[in-house]
Amino acid sequence: MIAYEIALWVVPVGVALTTLLVGARGLVFCWKVITGKDLDAPS
């Protein structure tokens, strides 16, 4: 039961937090694209 407790809490919370972290970086990138500011990478 402890394994289920861990899996059923850790997995959804982990997925959501990972999404927020990666998504935040993605949104910064999108903002730079939309506003036409220089992107991190060379063309």
Partner: protein, 479 residues
């Protein structure tokens, strides 16, 4: 649905539309339209790839199958994210070295020639258009279930929406809207799972209400049946055009490797979330059918406000897959057929407008097929079964060995396709052996036989250098 939930869905649509329209002004070249100017950093590649491969099948399909048979189907399907991790580690960075390539046809043209480009181009268009039609049907069903509009209205409204932003902004718009869609699906489906488990009585109450068969890894599967499902997930969608295009679009091979492989890890864990949502539906609503599992959880279990956001997430899941397939079908046609065989000397600016026109035609075609002729969508989906037995092995050999194999690549694709089609549609897949297995075996054997019998004798073991003058000439031909 409560007005607050409707407001959440409308807000999502407005944000996505705004991104698409604003991005349109950035699109100046076919590089922008097809591979976002090769400027995609790894977190964005991670998000766009995950949003693309997590479509209706990975969410509603996975929840529905788990509702019906338990975790065993989800366990067989983890072959897909495992494959994504392996491709990310070893293939995606090498694909990224083909700078200037937009399609798999570009890579095949370098290693084999125009015939290989034509074959891959045709299969790419059929596979992408077929899955796109299926996603359009799924969008109509989701709209119908969640908002209550007729299926046809749902298909037309959502596909026109996808068509507007993907035509205006190409890959740039797809990638940016994918980031928004990734956040929606990656945050709100886990939230739905946590709420769902709480409503079933917490983790202990939830697990105790499940039949033991739903928790066993192999369930009622016979070993061969499990192997067939596992292989179908491992190879069925490997490096289909939207995924390959994302590997090309990264800033450099390292970004391609990290973004691609981590998206696979994310998919592995996300499958557990969507599958477990199916089990929540099983406990709470034992009298529905599997395909109703996820929408029922969303509509019946979630509080006001969250329902709208999760409903938006479900629409986002499918739309992010549909826009990528539409873009890939367009780029494959424009690059591998139109530019290579019909009008090779069009300037890039004109070619961009050709791509936008083709995008409209393919998008409207998929919409019309989905609304009026589901049998055409079914027919196009048939081509999906031909992807793995034809393209994957020759492509892997090309990218991993760098060898030039003009005859072997074409012969292997033809043999794989013919044997798979014969086994599936003439023989009826006897003894539970899938067409994919037979076609892939023919594909691999033919590749090696023809490579050593023809290509090595004629050319020797000749490597392709992606920085060579030859690649530059091909890039000039197709640019």
């Amino acid at each position: 649905m409560h007005p607050l939930d409707i407001a959440g869905i409308v807000a999502y649509f407005l944000v996505v539309l705004l991104i698409g329209i604003v991005t349109a002004i950035r699109i100046k070249t076919t590089d922008d339209f097809a591979v976002a100017g090769n400027r995609v950093i790894w977190p964005v590649l991670f998000a766009t790839l995950a949003a693309t491969f997590l479509g209706g099948g990975a969410t509603m399909g996975r929840a529905g199958q788990t509702y019906d048979v338990g975790y065993s189907f989800a366990i067989a399907s983890i072959a897909f994210p495992i494959q994504t991790i392996l491709v990310g580690l070893w293939v995606a960075p090498r694909l990224n070295r083909y700078r200037g390539a937009h399609t798999i046809g570009d890579v095949m043209a370098l290693h084999s020639g125009k015939a290989a480009r034509l074959i891959v181009g045709i299969i790419s268009i059929l596979v992408c258009t077929g899955i796109l039609g299926a996603q359009a049907l799924a969008l109509g069903t989701v709209f119908h279930t969640l908002v209550g509009v007729p299926v046809t209205v749902g298909i037309v409204a959502s596909m026109l929406f996808v068509l507007v932003y993907s035509t205006a902004g190409g890959m740039w718009a797809d990638i940016q809207t994918d980031v928004v869609q990734f956040i929606l699906l990656g945050v709100f489906l886990p939230v739905a799972l946590i709420i769902g488990i709480h409503r079933t009585g917490g983790v202990q109450g939830f697990v105790e209400q499940l039949p033991a068969g739903h928790l066993t890894p192999f369930g009622a599967y016979e070993p061969m049946a499990f192997l067939v499902v596992f292989l179908a997930f491992a190879l069925g969608e490997t490096l289909i055009p939207p995924y390959a295009q994302r590997a090309f679009s990264a800033t450099d091979p390292r970004a391609s490797r990290i973004g691609y492989a981590w998206a696979g890890v994310f998919g592995l864990v996300f499958y557990f979330v969507s599958a477990t949502l199916g089990l929540v539906a099983f406990v709470m609503f034992p009298d529905i059918t599997g395909d109703q599992a996820l929408p029922t959880v969303v509509l019946q279990l979630l509080p006001i406000g969250i329902t709208g956001l999760v409903a938006g997430a479900l629409m986002a899941v499918i739309m992010s897959t549909a826009d990528s397939l539409l873009n890939s079908a367009t780029v494959s046609f424009s690059r591998d057929i139109f530019k290579a065989f019909i009008k090779p000397d069009l300037p890039d600016r004109t070619m961009l407008w050709v791509e936008r026109g083709v995008n409209v035609v393919i998008g409207l075609g998929a919409l019309v097929f989905a609304v009026t002729a589901e049998n055409i969508v079914d027919a196009l989906m048939v081509s999906y079964e031909l992807w793995a037995p034809t393209v994957i092995f020759p492509l892997l050999m090309a990218v991993l060995t760098r060898r030039k194999a003009p005859a072997a690549i074409v012969a292997a694709m033809v043999a794989g396709g013919v044997f798979a089609a014969w086994w599936i549609w003439v023989m009826g897949e006897p003894a539970g052996i899938s067409g994919l297995m037979v076609g892939l075996a023919a594909n691999i054997i033919t590749y090696f036989v023809v490579y050593y019998a023809v290509d090595v004798r004629r050319l020797g073991k000749q490597d392709v250098d992606v920085t060579s003058g030859e690649w530059a000439r091909i890039k000039e031909d197709i640019a």
